[in-house]
């Protein structure tokens, strides 16, 4: 009955599926997965740290672009806990009275030029397992969160607000119901936000708030802005507020940091940015803010307040405090004198001092986390936080290829795309200091890397010597001052190996690796003087770091189809193209309908199939406009089409056209990677193992067809092998099942990685590509009911294995180990023999048949395996090895069967004997013989470790293992030994034949006389169907066993 109903129901469903049409883009992407390769070696900008007071091994870390990370082991291991949300973190605050509750304010408060925006406030009540959005959606930057020490429902949030424009959702907000409702309790105006807060832990109705008027523009920063910055205090839980400026400078104020000494809340420290050098510095109050005195104005107490203003006071001692700064400093005398804490990375943003031990300090810097146990004299870095902020990425053509890129405050680095044992921190090498941006290797000269530091610090580095030569283009006679962007284009020509481009307001080309530059354009920017205020940028404190250099060329690309066509985009809104290598330029900006003026051109991507085609993206977020802008032209910029659809979230940094399929496009935005398989008509965010992280650059490896993703907060990710995606067409999408052509799988020869096998748990390992054989197919509907599986056959149509199928709608990637099943052996209690037999013989190179069985239907395809190109083992050697391994394999299987069949006879004989004691004499010799023979075959009674002995199984399995684990020709002694063992097993087989032949016959006739049933010999087929056989490698077995062990 039920069955009928079910059947009817599925019919209806099937029918309805036909009536429906397309799969969502997310479903199409299916099993394609991005792998994270880090690196963690240079880590990245940390914005906040909080520690559970009652369980200090539990630590939460907020990063500038890589989300929130949690450790439950005092930093030994970390895991990201916020990957489905906005990655720019302003503040992380634990509710110490209920530490499973944690609040996260998104949108960093250290508002440098490259800072990313947030999307409000989030809360977890289960230690980070899941997060709930709890409001302040339009806050964009959150500087502080204070949780009432006794009542976790009372929370104050310091909202810094929009950086790039005015907004009203800023100031201090309070909830008394755990985040359900919010009241704005302190608000100055639409330009002034809250930059810092603190609370009196002994009287939590006393709150301090530092209000900050500030604004950024693409070309200018103004700390102090409208002059409404100030320090406020409330003594009634935020109901009323008073300015507490007695003793503070009367000059215009900028950013203020405020801290209460927890051990004596009368003592306050404030870092004050104010107009006039004499006014800046550290101020102290000993009367809870009633009056202030300046106590220090060292460089680190006045430098760059918008980036460093935070003060952390030792919970145990009111006189110990750490001031965040370019060089981290600490005072132990109440702020009058400071010493620097030297070895951590520069640019400290967050500090935690242990409430049980003043000497224990954790610092969060632009280069990760550092921990000291001697009050800041020495530090160790935590090497496991891959939160680097890449600006750009390139690849070379080595095997495996290397990846090059530059990071925020962490220079330029290069490292391998894969490495035996995983990509570790030490695999990454540094090619230049400073902030890093574009970096690439010379296409043919393996020793040459071009790297740059901020503001046009172009260099050519020789890997052999490690020496960098400055090759920055220089002004010629009568040139104006050159304006290089903070993130200056440094671009390889696709047509000439020695040709590179660099741009200021002019475009420069060099045909000799940067030694000689040719200016090939006039000023291609607006050259608007109002955009050239970098010398006076900063507001109350001058901050001329080149970060605000504007009216510069920001994007440059030569057409891969025509070296004379070069596309250029500027940070002040122009797109220009030359068709004659710079003799003449066309400004195309006006041809792009609907583009806001002054919109920062973030990327130009010339087409790979038609030289008149190009894609451009604009990033207008510095004008307060976070919308995506992507355009395509097919007529050299005369007309443009917008490729933006509602699926795209966030301003756009990069677009790439696939190298094979022009309909396959990739775009990176502030909120992730987007993929279109239909030329931009529909986009989907790529979610599988790639967080919602800002994607600043992308490159497709031309040989490996991988997409390499430069994230600004989580290092580098790689989507291996785009070939299935390239084959997605409307016809494919309509099919029940479609097999994709994919590149052959290279059979990696086994070997040790050469690494320390027990390095501890605090290491970061970049993931390697999967090396198994792959069967990749598309299904237009998920398989849920009935059986679906895959059978794989070798060239002789022998079934190698049945494996589970992928069931999802969209792209399925099914993987299979490249081994035959491993041989059965008698049950040995010796590690070595099991170890030897654990690896099945590897499959040979060739094409294998695949049958996908879905219900009653069958679908056929193949996959191909190849040997590595540069392998030291010849095909002939491999064949000799394979033959020898298979001979030993047969011996293992023979022994397994003989042992099992004899054991089975033994059990039957013993059972007859037990029931018929009078036959003891008849049966005993038979029993004894089996026992003796089986004792020759395998050693029983071991402890699986060191209590072992050797019998035939141990000898056979060990030799099988040593021959099978080496890809090349076995040694002559090994081959001789194969023959020797074959003879030994033949002797065992002979005895077995005698046993089951004449001897058994004799015994059975005796039994028959007593009217007893004859003993039966288990056949080889029976044995094989009862003793399951399994595939895979020893490493996998170990992992599996590890997994099965309850830990």
């Amino acid at each position: 009955m039920k069955k009928i109903k079910l059947l009817l129901f599925s019919c209806l469903v099937a029918w309805q599926a036909e009536a429906q049409n397309e799969l969502s883009g997310k479903a199409i992407l299916g099993d394609l997965r991005a792998r994270s390769i880090g690196p963690a070696t240079m880590s990245g900008r940390i914005t906040d740290i909080d520690v559970v007071a009652s369980k200090p091994e539990v630590i939460y870390v907020g990063s500038a672009g890589g989300g929130v990370w949690k450790s439950v082991s005092a930093g030994t291991t970390f895991r990201p806990v916020f990957d489905e949300h906005t990655m720019s973190i302003g503040k992380v605050t634990i509710d110490q009275s209920n530490p499973e509750t944690v609040w996260v304010g998104t949108g960093e408060s250290w508002v440098r030029n490259s800072v990313a925006i947030g999307t409000g406030l989030y809360k977890t009540t289960n230690g980070g397992t899941s997060w709930e959005f709890v409001g302040l959606k339009d806050s964009q930057h959150i500087s502080d969160i204070l949780v009432h020490p006794k009542d976790g429902n009372i929370v104050y949030v310091g909202v810094q607000g929009h950086l790039w424009g005015p907004n009203q959702e800023r100031g201090v907000f309070k909830t008394s119901d755990g985040g359900k409702t919010w009241t704005k309790v302190l608000y100055i105006d639409e330009n002034t936000g809250c930059a810092d807060m603190d609370i009196d832990p002994k009287n939590p109705d006393v709150i301090y708030a530092a209000m900050w008027s500030h604004r950024r523009y693409p070309d200018f920063f103004d700390s102090g802005f409208t002059g409404t910055s100030g320090l406020y205090k409330s003594i009634d839980g935020g109901k009323t507020w008073n300015k507490i400026h007695n003793g503070l400078p009367t000059a215009k104020l900028g950013r203020i940091g405020i801290a209460v000494a927890p051990s004596n809340p009368m003592v306050l420290y404030a870092s004050i940015e104010a107009e006039g050098t004499q006014n800046k510095g550290l101020y102290k109050s000993t009367d809870a803010g009633a009056s202030w005195k300046k106590v220090n104005s060292d460089f680190s107490n006045t430098v760059r307040p918008f980036y460093f203003s935070r003060i952390t006071v030792d919970p145990l001692n009111e006189n110990n405090l750490v001031k965040c700064a370019y060089i981290p400093i600490i005072s132990t005398d109440g702020g009058s004198k400071f010493r620097s804490m030297g070895s951590p990375h520069a640019d400290l943003h967050a500090a935690w001092i242990d409430h049980r031990n003043s000497n224990h300090i954790i610092l969060g810097t632009d280069g990760g986390i550092y921990e000291s146990f001697d009050q800041g004299y020495s530090f160790r870095m935590w090497p496991n936080l891959p939160v680097g902020q890449f600006y750009h990425v390139t690849v070379d053509n080595d095997k495996p290829y290397n990846i090059y890129g530059g990071l925020q405050d962490n220079g330029s680095w290069y490292g391998p795309s894969q490495k035996a044992g995983g990509i570790t921190n030490s695999d990454w090498l540094n090619s230049l200091y400073g902030d890093g941006f574009n970096s690439h290797r010379h296409p043919t000269d393996k020793d040459i890397i071009y790297s740059e530091y901020q503001g046009g610090g172009i260099t050519r580095v020789n890997k052999k010597t490690g020496v960098a030569k400055s090759i920055k283009p220089l002004p010629e006679k009568d040139d104006p001052k050159l304006r290089f962007n903070w993130n200056t284009p440094l671009v390889q020509s696709p047509s000439k190996a020695d040709r590179i481009y660099v741009s200021a307001q002019f475009l420069y080309m060099s045909d000799d690796r940067g030694d000689t530059w040719k200016k090939i354009s006039p000023d291609l920017t607006t050259n608007d003087p109002k955009r050239q205020r970098q010398n006076s940028s900063g507001g109350v404190s001058i901050d001329n770091s080149t970060a605000e250099n504007n009216a510069t060329i920001y994007a440059v690309a030569e057409s891969p189809l025509d070296e004379k066509i070069i596309w250029v985009g500027t940070d002040d809104g122009f797109v220009q193209v030359t068709e004659n290598q710079g003799l003449t330029w066309s400004n195309l900006t006006k041809t792009i309908a609907g583009l806001p003026s002054g919109n920062w051109c973030s990327y130009v991507e010339p087409g790979h199939f038609d030289k008149r085609t190009a894609y451009v993206t604009f990033d207008n977020h510095r004008n307060g406009d976070m919308k995506p802008y992507i355009y395509k032209t097919t007529d050299l910029g005369k007309t443009w089409t917008s490729l933006v659809t509602p699926e795209i979230e966030g301003h756009v940094y990069v677009i790439r056209e696939d190298l094979i399929n022009p309909n396959l496009l990739f775009a990176g935005t502030e909120f992730g990677l987007y993929v279109s398989t239909n030329g931009g008509k529909q986009w989907s965010r790529f979610e599988n193992n790639l967080p919602k992280v800002a994607v600043h650059d992308l490159v497709i490896h031309p040989r490996e067809h991988d997409l390499v993703i430069a994230t600004h907060g989580r290092g580098i990710y790689i989507i291996d092998d785009l070939t299935p995606l390239r084959q997605v067409t409307p016809e494919v999408l309509a099919k029940t099942i479609h097999f994709f052509d994919i590149k052959p799988t290279v059979l990696n020869d086994p070997g040790l990685s050469g690494r320390n096998p027990s390095p501890g748990d605090d290491q970061f390992y970049g993931q390697n590509p999967n090396t198994q054989a792959k069967i990749v197919y598309f299904m237009n509907k998920r398989h849920t009911f009935g059986k679906m599986s895959i059978e794989v056959y070798d060239q002789n149509n022998k079934l190698i294995r049945e494996i589970p199928a992928g069931k999802s709608a969209g792209i399925n990637v099914v993987q299979m180990t490249t081994n035959y099943n491993r041989p059965r052996i008698p049950p040995s209690e010796t590690r070595e023999s099991i170890g030897g037999s654990i690896f099945g013989p590897s499959l040979a190179a060739g094409t294998y048949k695949v049958k996908v069985i879905k219900g009653k239907e069958e679908f056929n395809t193949t996959f191909t395996l190849t040997y590595p190109e540069d392998s030291p083992y010849t095909l002939e050697d491999r064949k000799i090895k394979q033959d020898a391994a298979l001979r030993m394999y047969t011996l293992c299987e023979d022994l397994a069967y003989i042992y099992d069949a004899q054991l089975d006879l033994l059990k039957q004989a013993v059972s007859v004997k037990d029931k018929n004691p009078k036959l003891t004499k008849t049966l005993n010799p038979f029993i004894k013989e089996i026992e003796d023979q089986n004792a020759m075959i395998v050693f029983k009674g071991g402890d699986f470790y060191v209590a072992t002995e050797e019998r035939m199984t141990e000898r056979v399995a060990e030799l099988y293992g040593s021959i099978n684990s080496y890809p090349g020709k076995p040694g002559q002694s090994q081959l001789d030994r194969v023959k020797g063992l074959e003879d030994e097993v033949a002797a065992v087989r002979k005895k077995f034949d005698e046993l089951k032949g004449p001897k058994l016959e004799k015994l059975n006739s005796a039994l028959s006389k007593s009217n007893l049933n004859a003993l039966k010999v288990k056949s080889e087929d029976e044995f094989k169907s009862s003793a399951d056989q399994t595939g895979g490698t020893g490493q996998q077995l170990n992992q599996l066993l590890d997994f099965l062990l309850i830990r």
């Binding site: 209806l12 399994t1030 996998q1036 309850i1046």
Partner: protein, 244 residues
């Protein structure tokens, strides 16, 4: 014309059914479509012979479960037996690969996931069991529109809360994916996703014969059932710690 009318009618019916779904209605349909609540409630034991694979590495297993929560897993590796069992109060294992050829007891803290695993579907009489069930909305999984149902086990009793998210196919009302979270160790709280498929009928109940566990988008473990036997009589002795 007729076809079109039928489609419209069907979509209309589907549309109306979608509007008024409550979590209990969804669960009701789930049990109805998979054999009926009475049959589910009558389930006393289950024996599964299958294959477990991890990155292509296969191990055959037999899993025996007896109501309410007795369980035993037998795995064979190269003729050697690995056993992991729970008798309702105490868990033990035999694993020569972990050292030693004698069975050992498993500490309670590490056995809590076994102790919480019941034969009976947790959604049956979930209120009586002290579980909280909430419909969180609809979400797509594997290209299928699903009801997203949160199950917090033991929310209303003294035992430790355990949260899972079950995604029920909104056409057929069967779960196709379950999100669970690691309950101990350094990765506590980390999510894993179990995709279930290959539903087949066994004695009138629809049982998924295939499961795949993924973490971070990567396949961690696959289970394929070869044979499922329901309500066979099972001796309690096989779950107990072996006496020497």
């Amino acid at each position: 014309m007729k076809n079109r009318l039928l489609i419209t009618l069907f979509l209309f019916l589907l549309g109306t059914s979608l509007q008024a779904q409550t979590v209990d209605q969804i669960l009701e349909k789930y049990f109805e479509n998979t054999g009926g609540l009475a049959k589910w409630k009558a389930l006393k034991s289950q024996k599964v012979d299958g294959n477990m694979s991890m990155q292509g590495m296969d191990l055959p297993f037999t899993m025996t479960t007896k109501a309410p929560n007795k369980q035993r897993m037998d795995i064979q590796v190269q003729g050697m037996q690995i056993i992991q069992a729970y008798d309702g109060t105490e868990a033990w294992m035999l694993n020569p690969f972990a050292g030693g050829t004698d069975p050992v007891k498993i500490p309670a803290e590490e056995a809590k996931e076994m102790a919480d695993r019941n034969l009976e579907d947790e959604f049956i009489d979930y209120k009586k069991k002290g579980h909280e069930v909430t419909l969180l909305g609809k979400e797509e999984v594997d290209g299928v529109s699903c009801y997203k149902i949160q199950l917090i086990k033991n929310k209303a009793n003294d035992k430790e809360d355990v949260t899972e998210i079950h995604y029920f196919d909104s056409e057929n009302y069967v779960p196709i994916m379950i999100v669970a979270y690691a309950r101990s160790g350094p990765m506590k709280g980390m999510e894993s996703k179990t995709y279930v498929s290959d539903y087949q009928e066994v004695d009138g109940l629809m049982i998924p014969f295939s499961m795949e566990v993924k973490a971070g988008g990567q396949s961690v473990q696959k289970l394929t059932f070869k044979k499922v036997t329901l309500n066979e009589s099972v001796e309690d002795g096989i779950f107990a710690f072996p006496k020497k």
